[in-house]
Symmetry: C2
Subunit: 331 residues, 2 copies
């Protein structure tokens, strides 16, 4: 078996977990990492991750420094949520023929917010012979790829609805803060409107579904509201008083010719009961499905990135969507 | 939009339904049909299907006669369950560069029973520049593609279990007979052992899952038992006395190094209560899912075939698996 040479861009918690999972796979050879943190540059990944399986792979400050020493086939990019911020990082990778699996939420469906940057990234991929993919668990799976996949046995689809309920109390500190825990509800809602709080990628999930179903959305509207704590809540990471925000209720609603055809409804809050992912496809046949307990977030995000790499390398060069490449599977 | 030129091989009930669904799609141009029935040869598909949208497309007796008149891009092949019986039909299609979506159950994972014929079909596809795919709803989706897809967000999978319960009373007459309705239980079980009754493709579903998960099965064992009617049952198609067979309970169990890792459990019987498809993935994370009411069979089978065509044409030539091509979606 020829191993896939992997490098990691961004050595924050998700990046480290991605690398550690990748290193457990028999088809992976970890060759290096990239991070601007001077505490990490020049160190070995084995020392940073505590995993001897990383061997002699080092952390470099830039892609140039990395590629002077090693030639990865795939870079896992876990750094930013916006394509604008990711563009320069990604473009030089794919121009050098290095394929990229990114957790950048907007890349799930880059044509939505950044069609011109998407066009340029696609061209850079084709020029360099590389593939670029945005994925994760949400966006990237639970609220987009799974419902699209279900429609594969439908003669036609009239409407598609997904509800996800996540118990924030079981998640990492950064997520507990991202959902507004401890803020005044009005402050959270202002931050949401300014794009500084909330879940990134919900509109991208909706746009990807519409794209796959051939729906030309006349409107795609996103809302974000605070979930208000009905009692004091304390987790390992945050403290919330009764009346403060303890999470978010975010929706994306897509209309075709003025009619609602698509709703994505996401609740992530502390002490949420009965976490689950629920699907209704109204069509021929209709399909009603529930993932009991939901798909646990953090382990799944990292797995989604790592599992995508071998499938991505089998696809033709270009900026690709999750629904362009082969059916997901554990790799 | 360049339309995909479609022809239909086999004008039985499923073939007719496939054609009728295909004709509703804006990306399809129906160009012809193939059947040996002298009642159909030489007639127009419009007259046979009652759909004027078929235009002037005709029924031919052979592929040769069809291709003297029209050049399909894709043939839907709904004729037989065994690769041995399908081989000669399929090989001349793909050698002529015509891609094929087939309902032949063994083609879901042809390497299982017919590795040499599979190799020859793959070579014929590559020689002719065509793609060949076996799909449907089961096998082809509910008990294989769906659970594989779920593992795409797993760090690792220890075991995978699927249970499908189908209420035979809501299905077509041929299915009600295939599951043994009205036979003595011992007769059904003997016919099952002889390969003359039961659900085709369950072992193929198991083998496809194992292939995708990288599991080398040391054993793959199939069982089939009669479900015995506890009272008299009468449907639109069959009559069953108390004590006779009213359906089947079929399982496929896969072991890795002697340990059970994979179970597919299928119950199809008359008056089955609470039809559903249930999934347990034991892994990181574990996933528990249920499709309430299950995926209705016949409409979904036809949809699965038609929806696969545009995805198949985007894949490279060869004998392909459902998990080799892009994520399913309604087309």
């Amino acid at each position: 078996m020829t191993k896939i040479k992997i490098a990691q861009f961004g050595l924050g918690p998700i990046g480290i977990e991605t690398l550690k999972l990748a290193a457990t796979k028999p088809w992976v050879e970890v060759v290096g990492g990239i991070d601007i943190d001077p505490e990490k540059v020049g160190k070995s990944l084995a020392s940073i991750t505590g995993e001897p399986a990383m061997g002699s792979a080092m952390v470099y400050r830039t892609l140039e420094e990395l590629t002077e020493n090693v030639q990865p086939d795939v870079i896992f990019h876990t750094a930013v949520s916006k394509i604008k911020d990711a563009f320069a990082q990604l473009e030089i990778m794919v121009r050098r023929g290095i394929s990229v699996v990114s957790s950048c939420e907007e890349l799930l469906f880059p044509q939505l917010r950044e069609p011109e940057l998407a066009r340029r990234l696609d061209q850079a991929c084709k020029d360099g012979g590389a593939r670029l993919l945005g994925t994760g668990v949400n966006p990237g799976f639970v609220m987009d790829v799974v419902p699209v996949c279900l429609t594969g046995v439908c003669r036609q689809v009239k409407a598609l609805h997904v509800q996800r309920v996540v118990n924030g109390s079981t998640r990492r500190g950064p997520l507990q803060r991202k959902i507004g825990s401890g803020l005044a509800p009005a402050v959270f809602e202002r931050l949401f409107k300014e794009g500084k709080a909330g879940h990134a990628g919900l509109k991208e999930s909706a746009a990807l579904i519409a794209h796959c179903l051939g729906w030309d959305l006349s409107e795609l509207i996103e809302t974000g509201n605070a979930v208000v704590a009905s009692q004091d809540i304390r987790t390992n990471h945050v403290e919330v008083k009764k009346g403060q925000c303890c999470g978010l209720h975010q929706t994306a609603v897509g209309k075709v010719n003025g009619e609602v055809r698509l709703t994505l409804d996401l609740k992530m809050y502390l002490e949420a009961q009965n976490p689950r992912d629920t699907y209704q496809i109204e069509g021929e046949p209709s399909i009603n499905m529930v993932i009991q307990g939901g798909v646990a977030g953090d382990a799944a995000t990292v797995a989604s990135l790592v599992n995508a790499a071998p499938r991505l390398l089998k696809a033709p060069p270009g900026l690709l969507l999750m629904t362009d490449i082969a059916v997901p599977s554990v790799a």
